[in-house]
Symmetry: C2
Subunit: 281 residues, 2 copies
């Protein structure tokens, strides 16, 4: 019996082990959020449960979770439900708007919801129902941002024929408009259009008001969404750029794979992003 | 109408965007796996579905998924089911063994399953049913590794009063035994015992045959399991050490939170680990 008591004691004496070192986490300038579209097959309670589970606290609100026709009471109830899960709805969108009246609606709704950012896609629709970028509507957005001081971020959608393909194209439309009109940089769609999203982020740093992060299988139109840990974009470059430009907005995951059951992919992606952040220091 | 057609063209010309740069992934010396205990509330098919979902291909087999009494046909069926999900069972354990007969059973079973590694905890049980480390049984394990050439990794369990607390303690028992007896380093339990797991990994690099990775809320007995992205261990230090010592074994996640519904936490943890790997280069 004696050896059993003595050996652990000796082993412990011989140990001289150092205590572990605690990981040092950087207080990032930006926040981590999720783009509402990720949850387009889920109602708000399920959405919030998935956000809670993955410890994400900022939501870009889509109309299927909070319709334009919501009453002030319904808006208050929505915000309370979010707050109860520790979630803040920080922006609306992306919203596709085709007329001045719809732009008016968007800004009026943002004001009622109490957010100071709209992610938008102002388009005209031709006789064949094809949508086109609308510099005219963007000019009108300029009058609205002056009137309301609510910012407006134009979302880029890559090479799919949906209007506003790249950050470069979008800056072409907005560069001479009120600076409160900026970009929602969708880094997956940038890359699918063969535009380096992180170069664009740095180049247009003063006009990037929202970011959709994701990863893709290839840098072409054929590229599709995948768990962020498994795609081709270089997230170390992403986080370095976010810090370099001191981006203070929200980076919202838009996860577009397994949309019937997105939680594991969201979790893997959020974990990956945090792993990159914790390692760059 | 003209502006609509001309503007995108001009914007595109003005672009001069660089193409995105593809992330460079390092071909790690080690493999990523999962410790079967993570799934102790799940049958094999559910276990394999979760592994497939998180793209993990190595399983440390627990007896609740493959009982000792399995026939050769049952073992073959188990292995085929695993293979159909792209999973290899690479080791058995942890197995608690209290007699020479049980050690014989463990090695005979490993041989039948076709694995060359047992994660084990050889103990004696006193009159009060308290378990103690058993240097005598470890000596017997030494004769078995010589006889079978199957390696045996002693699992450390930290400050909970379960035998074999730390790597230092365990090396005290095994250092003079056959070198095919080594350690299964449980980095969470090391840290809960205030032993730096990565220092231990480097110090005992020639005797570490398996690793359980996880993260914990604090470096003390009170510390409990948490998503790897949210705990205190420094995973950059972990990955650096794995590469430095050229660890060629499996690193198996042992996830012990939300054990009724572990998939999101497993996914977040696996994503985090991959984020750290991709960032260190």
């Amino acid at each position: 019996m004696k050896t059993r008591l003595i050996l652990p004691f000796f082993a412990a004496c011989a140990a001289l082990a150092q205590p572990p070192q605690e990981v040092k986490r950087i207080d990032e300038p930006f926040k981590v959020g999720i783009a509402g579209y990720t949850f387009h097959k889920f109602k708000l309670p399920e959405t919030l449960a998935m956000m809670k589970r993955t410890d994400v606290h900022y939501l870009c609100i889509k109309d299927f979770h909070l319709p334009f026709k919501s009453t002030d009471e319904e808006i208050a109830a929505f915000k309370k439900t979010c707050a109860d899960s520790g979630v803040t709805g920080y922006a609306l969108g992306p919203i596709y708007s085709t007329t001045r009246e719809e732009i008016d609606r968007d800004f009026a709704f943002a004001k009622r919801v109490g957010v100071n950012l709209i992610v938008g896609v102002p388009v005209t629709v031709d006789a064949n129902k094809k949508r086109h970028p609308s510099p005219e509507l963007l000019k009108y957005v300029g009058t609205k941002v002056k009137e309301t001081d609510i910012r407006y971020a134009v979302h880029n959608h890559g090479p799919d024929g949906i209007p506003y393909a790249t950050a470069d194209e979008n800056m072409g439309y907005i560069k001479d408009l009120d600076s409160r009109i900026g970009l929602c940089l969708d880094i997956g769609h940038n890359a699918r259009a063969n535009e380096d999203p992180f170069e664009a982020l740095e180049k247009y740093k003063d006009r990037v008001y929202d970011i959709h992060w994701k990863n893709i299988t290839e840098f072409s139109k054929k590229g599709h969404g995948i768990e962020v840990s498994r795609g081709k974009l270089d997230y170390a470059q992403f986080v370095k750029t976010l810090r370099k430009i001191n981006y203070t907005g929200v980076c919202s995951l838009e996860y577009e794979k397994d949309m019937d059951d997105p939680l594991p992919g969201i979790a893997e992606s959020v974990g990956y992003f945090r792993g990159v952040m914790d390692t760059l220091r």
